[in-house]
């Protein structure tokens, strides 16, 4: 949209307030993070990041966040589909419940999920009988991250599903396409950008999640230790530069994720003709 800047008031004031707040809360902290990391030489920096325990933590964080986001693609699509398309009793209630993971404090989520999935918990005991340990393994982390990430996929897919033109589906079936073909050729293409956005949002959130994960993770170095926990661990060993370097590395990852998400969202808008 083109703006005729001269007409509207308040640009200076609003920009001033925004830049001031962002500088104070985001920019200065970022600078602090970078300068603190700069206390290390490049060699030390490399040494900190290439440590096998650090690499393992990044691997755990990435793989669990990825697995959880991947599962959420399917779970989220099914839930969104049913909520948009099918008549359900108490639909509004189910629909608002989707946002529970947004609203429930992560510490509460953490202790509850641990209680449910520990070997003597409500759900954990069934897994235990099958010889599967959920709590205190990467599987437990993944489940916590599925909980945290579910609303991201549902909430990005829902509006696109609502806007889909059903007549195209009807046309496709009446022209003799099988259900699977209709799904793949007609339904899926417009959903892909939204699904990818939801996936990246859930993935990005999963990478940084702390509160709900530490209770259930078991925190085994090399096995179930996540990056945020490693930062806290380094802090508690008085290793400030080490903590900062790892924080900076994950910040860079977060930044890249954001760029990807913003790109995807633009793509979604173009594809669906919104905005």
């Amino acid at each position: 949209m083109s703006q005729r800047r001269s007409l509207l008031p308040g640009f200076g004031l609003s920009l001033g307030v925004t830049v001031f707040t962002v500088s104070l809360l985001v920019l200065i902290p970022l600078v602090a993070l970078v300068t603190k990391s700069a206390e290390l030489s490049l060699g030390e920096l490399w040494h900190t990041l290439a440590d096998r325990r650090v690499l393992a933590a990044f691997r755990v964080s990435f793989s669990t966040a990825f697995a959880a986001a991947f599962f959420n693609l399917f779970l989220g699509l099914i839930v969104a589909w049913v909520l948009v398309r099918y008549p359900l009793p108490l639909k509004r209630a189910w629909d608002s419940l989707i946002d529970l993971p947004f609203a429930l404090p992560t510490a509460v989520a953490g202790i509850v999920l641990t209680t449910l999935y520990s070997p003597n918990g409500w759900l954990g005991q069934f897994f235990a009988e099958l010889g599967i340990r959920v709590a205190f393994t990467p599987l437990g982390i993944t489940i916590a991250l599925i909980f945290i990430g579910l609303p991201f996929v549902v909430r990005t897919v829902e509006p696109v599903l609502q806007d889909l033109d059903r007549q195209q589906e009807e046309a496709s079936t009446s022209l003799g396409a099988s259900r699977w073909q209709t799904f793949r050729r007609v339904l899926l293409p417009p959903l892909v950008p939204a699904l990818l956005t939801g996936f990246s949002l859930a993935f990005a959130r999963g990478l940084g999640e702390y509160g709900s994960v530490i209770f259930i993770a078991g925190n085994m170095p090399m096995k179930s230790e996540i990056v945020p926990l490693l930062i806290v661990t380094k802090l508690e060993q008085y290793n400030y530069p080490g903590a900062t370097v790892i924080a900076l590395a994950s910040l860079v990852v977060a930044f890249v994720m954001l760029l990807i998400i913003n790109g995807l969202q633009q793509w979604t808008r173009q594809r669906t003709g919104r905005d």
């Binding site: 949209m1 083109s2 005729r4 007409l7 509207l8 008031p9 308040g10 640009f11 004031l13 920009l15 962002v22 985001v26 920019l27 200065i28 902290p29 602090a32 993070l33 779970l75 099914i78 839930v79 589909w81 049913v82 398309r85 099918y86 359900l88 189910w94 608002s96 419940l97 989707i98 529970l100 609203a103 992560t106 510490a107 509460v108 953490g110 202790i111 509850v112 999920l113 209680t115 449910l116 909980f147 579910l150 059903r166 007549q167 009807e170 046309a171 259900r179 940084g208 999640e209 509160g211 990056v227 945020p228 930062i231 802090l235 900062t244 930044f255 994720m257 954001l258 913003n262 905005d275």
Partner: protein, 292 residues
């Protein structure tokens, strides 16, 4: 498009599309969706309640009325009451300059506002320690002047503000972009003051979106754990927020008490969801009115 429309009888928008016509697919998918909701969303809520009342109503009431719990509630409220209004003002200002004006660095500013969303809360705590901790840049100065930041209320507020910074702005920016600025421009051209334009044109049009952002911001502000945990110091009755109090009780083997306090937070989440769906409904109506 037009050809298919000619071939087919126009289907009502709420009707059943052929893809959904097989009942068993519909039932199976519905059942699956409800199972997912039940397993991942409802069961945890039930578990909180169950564990909270495991030792009876008396123990529950004791845990809730404990003075330390009271103090944690108070601190959580103070934090939210400081952060939410400040972030609301920030959100309106940010949305106004980003949605209404073109300027160099606009997309960078948007990304910076988004950043707290995808940064681990632990890092949020860490950066404030780097700045305001006694080993940090300004920590010594503030402490020497009798105004400690870390391990005191200001640190908790700062960390919470960081984490909740994007909520209101992110809600308003797309909304205001979608609405366009014609009405505001018209009011200015007709001689309205900036203040008057804001109150009579801008605010009424964004109020539901604003409220939506405020509610989400508030829920996060009251429930933040990771960032606050790093800067709080966990002093009972002084710097313990509700989520931290849950953790402390949990570590004191007072499981029922921990879950009892957790019900307060879960209740808050439920109330948030209810208000949110009301707001959503109003907002939707407003959008529909605007577009029709």
């Amino acid at each position: 498009m037009s050809t298919t429309q000619n071939i087919l009888r126009p289907a009502p928008r709420t009707g059943t599309a052929p893809t959904e016509s097989i009942p068993w697919v519909r039932y199976a998918l519905s059942a699956l969706a409800l199972l997912i909701i039940a397993l991942f969303l409802i069961l945890p809520l039930v578990a909180v309640l169950f564990e909270a009342f495991r030792e009876g109503v008396g123990a529950y009431v004791d845990a809730i009325t404990d003075p330390y719990t009271g103090h944690a509630i108070l601190l959580t409220l103070i934090t939210a009451l400081t952060c939410v209004p400040l972030n609301t003002l920030f959100g309106i200002a940010a949305a106004w300059c980003i949605a209404r004006f073109q300027f160099p660095g606009r997309s960078l500013l948007t990304t910076l506002i988004d950043l707290p969303f995808s940064v681990s809360p632990v890092i949020a705590g860490l950066v404030f320690i780097l700045i305001f901790g006694s080993q940090g840049w300004f920590g010594g100065w503030f402490a020497a002047h009798g105004f400690p930041i870390i391990f005191a209320l200001p640190g908790i507020v700062l960390a919470t503000m960081f984490v909740t910074l994007p909520f209101v702005a992110r809600e308003l920016i797309p909304l205001m972009q979608e609405q366009g600025s014609e009405q505001e421009e018209a009011s200015i051209m007709l001689g309205a003051s900036a203040w008057r334009m804001f109150w009579t044109i801008t605010l009424p049009r964004i109020k539901w979106g604003l409220l939506y952002g405020v509610i989400l911001c508030n829920a996060r502000a009251m429930g933040e754990f990771g960032a606050v945990s790093v800067v709080s110091g966990h002093i009972r009755g002084a710097t313990n927020t509700l989520p931290l109090h849950v953790e402390i009780l949990y570590n004191e083997y007072q499981f029922s008490a921990a879950f009892a306090v957790a019900t307060l937070l879960a209740g808050l989440a439920i109330v948030t969801l209810i208000i949110k769906s009301i707001v959503e409904w109003r907002q939707q109506r407003q959008w529909e009115n605007a577009s029709s």
